[in-house]
Subunit: 661 residues, 2 copies
C-alpha cells in the first residue's frame, strides 16, 4: 500500500510536470492534469495492466484520455512510468513542431497514446469500440488471450457532446462491463461555471442507459481505488463521478476557468510549489518519486510474460490466427477468392445497385476473413451490410459478428476507430452517404490516425429518389474527398465494387468510404482483368485514339458517360470515357500517368451527380460539367436525372455547343 | 367534447390519406402517420393554436415533425385543417418532382411546414430554438404579443441521435416550459425491434436533464388530452412518452418494421379498410369528417383576431419594432453606424486578429439591432462573441441576449435555425472553425431552408498554432464552400470583417459562416471605400496593369500575398493581388466580372492555409497553389507557416521557378 504522503508526491509529480511544461510552452491546459492527477496515479500505479517496455502487448489495458486537452496528464504518465518515446526532453518541448508531445495526444507520435483525442467526446466513442473489440475477441479467443479493461477519462465537455450519449447508450446496451469511465467532475468549462450552460444529473443520465455509477471524491486515493475495484465486479459498464478541483493546488486559480487553458504564470506556479510542498525545479522529479513511478511501470511485467507463455502454448492455428490478425495481415487465400468472384462478375455482367454488388463482395470477404466485424446505423436492409455469416452480436452473445449500432452514426464511426485501434478486427459499418455529415468529426480523426475502418455509404446521390434533398448527397463526395488520408471510392459496377473493396481492405493505414448507389446500374466493365484497375483511381474505361472528347465520370454516371460516347461517335466524334472510382488514388499516381489519363482532347467533360468542386483538376475550369448545382429534389430517380439535366443527351448537347461554338 | 367514434374516424382520415398516398407513390413511410394519428388529432383539434388561413400569424403555436419521414402525417393535417397550399391533388402527387409534398417536409414548400426535417434529431434542436425564441421575445414584448407553445414529435431515431441529448439538456437547463415533446414510442426501427440496439430508459434520461415526463397510451385520446393539459401547467419542458403501434390498423404489418418505410400493398390496405371500418375510396374523406377537421382549422380564428387587436393597440414604437423584426428587416440607422466604424478602421488600420475585429463590429451591430441574439458553444472568450450589450440569458432571466449553449455545437446550430425560423431574432453563435464538422448536418439544413443564422468560426487554420491538427481546420473551408446556399466569408482584416458582417446580416435568406483568425493580421485595406468590396466575393486589392503574376488569397494569407507582391515587384515582375473573402459570392458575379478578376497573367498563384480544392477555378489546374497538403501540426503558428511553406518567399520561389522553367 502506498502511503498517502507518497501518493500525494507521486500525483504532484504529474502536476508539476504539467504546469511547468505548459508554462515553458506558454500554451496548453494545466487544469485537467492537476485535477486528475490523483485518479491517474491510483489507476496507473495499482490497476492498469500495461508494460511501457512492451507497449503493444495485445492484452494490455487501454487508457483513453477523452478530454485530450489534458494531454500533459498522459505525457507525464508515459514519462514517469518509463515509456521510451516520452523523454524529459520531449516534455520540455511540449507543443513544439516535431516534438512527440503535441498539443493534443496524437496516435502514432508515441507508444502509449492509444488514440488521438481533443475534439470532445470522441475518446468515449473510441473506448466503447475498444471495449467492444475486447469482449468480441474474448468470446473468440478465450480469456487466456484476451481479458483486459478499457479506462476512459472524460470531462464535462465530453459529456455535453451528443456523441457521448450515443456511445454510452450503446455501451450500456451491450453491457460492456470492462469499460470504466472516469468523469472529471470539476464543474468548470471555458465560459466559466458549468452551470452556466448545463444542469444535467450525470449519475441519473448514466443510470438511464444501464451503467453502474459511483460517486467519489476524486482527490481521495482510497475512494478512487475502492471505486475501481467496485467497477471490476460490475456486470455493466461503470461511470465513476470524481469530484475534482481543476488546477488542484494552484492557490488563486484552482477551481476556476483560469486554470483550464493557459499557462498559470510564474508567480502562481511558485505559490503552487509552496502550497503543495514541492521544491524541485521544473522538469526534475525527486529520485525516490521517479523510482516509485518506474516501479509502477514494471508492475505488469510478469503478467505480460505469463500471457506470452499462454499464447505460445495455445493451439498453433489459434495462435497463428491471433498473431496474423494482431498484425493486421489478410489471410493468404483472400485474393484468390476475390478473383473467382471477379471472373463471375465478368461472365455474368450483373445489372444491379452497387450496394447489392457490395453485399455480394462482402459475402465472399466475410467468409474468408473472420476478423471482419460488420454493422450498420440501423440501415441494415438498405446498406446491404449483413451477409450470411454475420449473426447479430448481442449483450448475451458475442460470438456474433454484426453490430446493430442503432441510429448513432457518430458513435458508430468513433467506435469503429476504437475497434481498429484495438487490433484483431476489421470494422465496417453502414449508413446513408448523406449522414457522413453526422459522423464527420470521427471520420476525420480516423483519417488522421490512419485506421483501417470501412464506411459503407449507400444512397449516394439524387439516384436515391423520393426521399428528397434532405437525404440526397450533393456536396458530400467533394466534402469527403478533401479529408486528408481518407480514401473515397465510388465504383461504377460489380467489378469496380469488388476492386474498391479489395483496395480498402488492403489499405492497412487508411480508412475508406465505399460510396454506393441505391439504383441499378449496368455493367461498365465487361471483360475480366486480373489487374485491379481501380487502383489507379482513374483509368481508360473505353479508350479512343485521338479522341476529340474525353468524358470523366464516377459511379452511377459512368453508364451515362458510355451512352454519351455512343451518341457522339455516331456523329463521328471520337470519344474516350475515363472511369474515376477514386480521385485520391488518381492524384497519387505518377505525373506521367496522370497526364496520359487527362489527355489532350479539345473537349473535356465530367459527369457526376454531385457538385463540381474537385473536377476542375480533370477538365480544367473551362471544362464541361454535367452535375448538380444546388440541392436535389424529391421524385422518382429517373425523373430527377432528367430534371437536373444529368443525362447523356445533356452531355452530348453541351459538347456539340462547345464544338460548334 | 369529440366522441370517441368521431375521434377515431378523424384519426383514420390521417391514416388512410397517408397509406393511400404512400401506396400511390409506391414510396414513403406509412407507419408513423398511422401510429401517431391519435396524438396529432387531439393536438390539432383541441390544443394547437393555429390559423390555416393566416399561417404566418406570429403568435401561433409551432408544430415540428422531427421524425420527418412521417411527412404524410403533416401533409394530411395541413390538408384536413384547410391550408390552401396542400390540396388533395398535392397529396395525390406525394413525392413527385415539383409537388409541394416532398418525401420529407421541406420548409418553404407550403405554409404550415415550420422547418425542414428528415435527418433525425434535427427537429428537436429546431424546436428548442423556437421555444427559446418564444421565451426571449415574451420577455421582451410581453405576453400580450408573445405567448405560444412549441410541440415536437420525435421518434426513437431522433432520440438515439446525439443531437437530441444536446438539445434536451439545453432546454431542461433553460426551463423552456412551453416546449412539449411527444415521443412516438413504437419500439420499432428499420433493423427491427428497437431493443436490437437500444435499451435506454427514456423517462429517466429526460428526468436527468430536468424535464417533466408523462407516460401514456398514445392511442387513447383522453390520455393524450390529459397529458397535454398537464404539460401546460409544468414549469419545465415536458416529454410525453406515447406508447403507440407503428402502422396502427394494418392487420399483418402493424407493430413491425414492415410498416415503417414502404407502401403497405393493396391487399394489406384493403384489409386495413375492413379492420378500421373505413369504406371511402383513396383520397376521399367522408364529408362529415372533413367538415369536422375544417372546423378544427377555424378554432383559433378569434384568438388570432384578438391578438391582432392587441398588436394594433400596442405602443406604436413597440408595434413597429415587432413588425419590423417579424419581417426580418434591419433598422434604418444600421448602415450609417457601420460606415462610421469603417471610416475608423480605414483611419486607424488596426492590426489584430479578425476574431477581434469581429468583436468590434458586433459591438456596433448589437448596439443597433436589438434582435441580435448571441452565443457560443462554450468558447466565448475565444470566439469574442459577447459584446458589452450581451448580458447572459438564463433560466431565470430572459432579458439577456447571450446564450451559453454549452459544448453542444450541433444543438446550437439547430437551435439557431429554430430561432431564425421563429422570426423576430437574428441568431449568431460561435465555435472553432474545426468544429463545423460537429454541426454540419444542421448547417446543411439551415442552408437548405435559407435561414439567416450567422456562425462565428474562429481559429480558422494552422494559424491557431499549438492546439495542433485535431483543432486546425485544413479541409473545412473547402468543405463549407461546397454546401449550396451557404455563404462562407474569410475576411483579411478589419475592413473586410466589417463588410462580411454587413453582407451576412443583409442576406435574409442565407446562413453565413464568418471564418476568423486567432492570430493578428495587419490591415490589407488601407483606404476607406464606401462600396462594400467584399460583396464581389473577390476583388482587386492591389492592382497592377499587365500583371505577369496574379496572386489570389483569402483571410490571413492576404498579407502573405501582399508581401510576395512586394518581393516580386522588386525583381521587376508586375504582380496583382486579389482578395477572395467569399468564393460563393464571386461565383455569383457576371461572367464579365469574373473574367476580369481572374485575368490573364501568365502565372497564377493561390495562397490559402487550407487544401487546394476550389482554387483551380481561379488559377487553373496548372496554377501554383501555396497551401496545405495534409493535416497540420502542433507548434507556434509562425513556425507552422514556415514548416508548411506557406510564406511569401515560398510563393516567390515557386513563381520564379515557373517563370524561369
Amino acid at each position: 500500500m502506498t502511503s498517502r504522503e507518497k501518493h500525494d508526491r507521486m500525483a504532484n509529480a504529474i502536476r508539476f510536470l504539467s504546469m511547468d511544461a505548459v508554462e515553458k510552452a506558454q500554451s496548453g491546459h494545466p487544469g485537467l492534469p492537476m485535477g486528475c492527477a490523483d485518479i491517474a496515479t491510483v489507476l496507473f500505479t495499482k490497476y492498469l495492466n500495461f508494460d511501457p517496455k512492451n507497449p503493444h502487448w495485445p492484452d494490455r489495458d487501454r487508457f483513453v484520455l477523452s478530454a485530450g486537452h489534458g494531454s500533459m496528464l498522459l505525457y507525464s504518465l508515459l514519462y514517469l512510468t518509463g515509456y521510451e518515446d516520452i523523454t524529459i526532453d520531449e516534455i520540455k518541448h511540449f507543443r513544439q513542431v516535431d516534438s512527440k508531445t503535441a498539443g493534443h495526444p496524437e496516435y502514432g507520435h508515441a507508444a502509449g497514446i492509444e488514440t488521438t483525442t481533443g475534439p470532445l467526446g470522441q475518446g468515449i466513442g473510441n473506448s466503447v469500440g475498444m471495449a467492444l473489440a475486447e469482449r468480441k475477441l474474448r468470446a473468440e479467443f478465450g480469456e487466456d488471450l484476451v481479458d483486459h479493461h478499457t479506462y476512459v477519462l472524460a470531462g464535462d465537455g465530453c459529456l455535453m457532446e451528443g456523441i457521448s450519449q450515443e456511445a454510452i447508450a450503446l455501451a450500456g446496451h451491450l453491457k460492456l462491463n470492462k469499460l470504466v469511465l472516469f468523469w472529471d467532475n470539476n464543474g468548470i468549462s471555458i465560459d466559466g461555471d458549468v452551470h452556466l450552460s448545463d444542469s444535467t444529473d450525470q449519475i441519473e443520465r448514466f443510470k438511464a442507459v444501464h451503467w453502474h455509477t459511483i460517486e467519489i471524491d476524486g482527490h481521495d486515493p482510497e475512494a478512487i481505488a475502492g471505486a475501481i475495484e467496485e467497477a471490476h465486479t460490475s456486470d455493466r459498464p461503470t461511470m465513476i463521478a470524481c469530484k475534482t478541483t481543476i488546477g488542484f493546488g494552484a492557490p488563486t486559480k484552482a477551481g476556476t476557468q483560469k486554470a483550464h487553458g493557459s499557462a498559470l504564470g510564474e508567480e502562481e506556479i511558485a505559490e503552487t510549489r509552496k502550497n503543495l510542498g514541492w521544491d524541485s525545479p521544473p522538469f526534475e522529479i525527486p529520485s525516490d518519486i521517479l523510482d516509485a513511478w518506474r516501479l509502477a511501470g514494471l508492475r505488469s511485467t510478469s503478467e505480460r510474460k505469463e500471457w506470452e507463455q499462454r499464447l505460445k502454448d495455445a493451439d498453433s492455428n489459434k495462435r497463428a490466427d491471433f498473431e496474423r490478425r494482431a498484425k493486421g495481415e489478410l489471410v493468404g487465400g483472400f485474393d484468390g477468392k476475390l478473383e473467382e468472384l471477379k471472373r463471375k462478375f465478368a461472365d455474368e455482367k450483373p445489372k444491379d445497385a452497387t450496394r447489392k454488388h457490395s453485399e455480394a463482395v462482402l459475402e465472399v470477404v466475410n467468409g474468408v476473413l473472420p476478423e471482419m466485424l460488420g454493422g450498420s446505423a440501423d440501415l441494415t436492409p438498405s446498406n446491404n451490410t449483413q451477409t450470411s455469416q454475420m449473426k447479430d452480436l448481442t449483450a448475451d452473445d458475442f460470438s456474433g459478428r454484426y453490430v446493430h449500432y442503432g441510429i448513432r452514426e457518430h458513435a458508430m464511426v468513433a467506435a469503429m476507430s476504437g475497434i481498429a485501434l484495438h487490433e484483431g478486427l476489421i470494422p465496417y459499418g453502414g449508413t446513408f452517404m448523406c449522414f457522413t455529415d453526422y459522423c464527420r468529426p470521427a471520420i476525420r480523426l480516423a483519417s488522421m490516425m490512419g485506421v483501417r475502418a470501412i464506411y459503407v455509404l449507400t444512397h449516394d446521390s439524387i439516384g436515391l429518389g423520393e426521399d428528397g434533398p434532405t437525404h440526397q448527397p450533393v456536396e458530400h463526395l467533394a466534402a469527403l474527398r478533401v479529408i486528408p488520408n481518407l480514401l473515397t471510392f465510388r465504383p461504377a459496377d460489380a467489378t469496380e465494387t469488388l476492386e474498391c473493396w479489395q483496395l480498402a481492405l488492403e489499405s492497412n493505414h487508411r480508412p475508406s468510404g465505399m460510396v454506393l448507389s441505391r439504383q441499378k446500374l449496368r455493367a461498365a466493365r465487361t471483360d475480366y482483368s486480373e489487374e485491379n484497375l481501380s487502383a489507379y483511381g482513374a483509368y481508360d474505361l473505353s479508350p479512343s485514339s485521338n479522341a476529340e472528347v474525353t468524358i470523366f465520370a464516377s459511379g452511377s454516371e459512368v453508364e451515362i458517360a458510355l451512352d454519351a460516347k455512343e451518341m457522339l461517335e455516331k456523329e463521328g466524334r471520337a470519344t474516350r470515357v475515363v472511369s474515376v472510382p477514386s480521385m485520391e488514388l488518381f492524384h497519387e499516381q505518377t505525373d506521367q500517368y496522370k497526364a496520359a489519363i487527362i489527355g489532350n482532347s479539345p473537349v473535356k467533360v465530367a459527369i457526376e451527380a454531385g457538385v463540381r468542386q474537385g473536377w476542375d483538376a480533370f477538365i480544367g475550369h473551362d471544362g464541361i460539367f454535367v452535375g448538380m448545382h444546388g440541392f436535389g429534389a424529391s421524385g422518382a430517380y429517373e425523373d430527377l436525372y432528367r430534371h437536373f439535366d444529368i443525362t447523356a443527351s445533356a452531355a452530348v448537347e453541351a459538347v456539340r455547343a462547345r464544338l460548334n461554338g
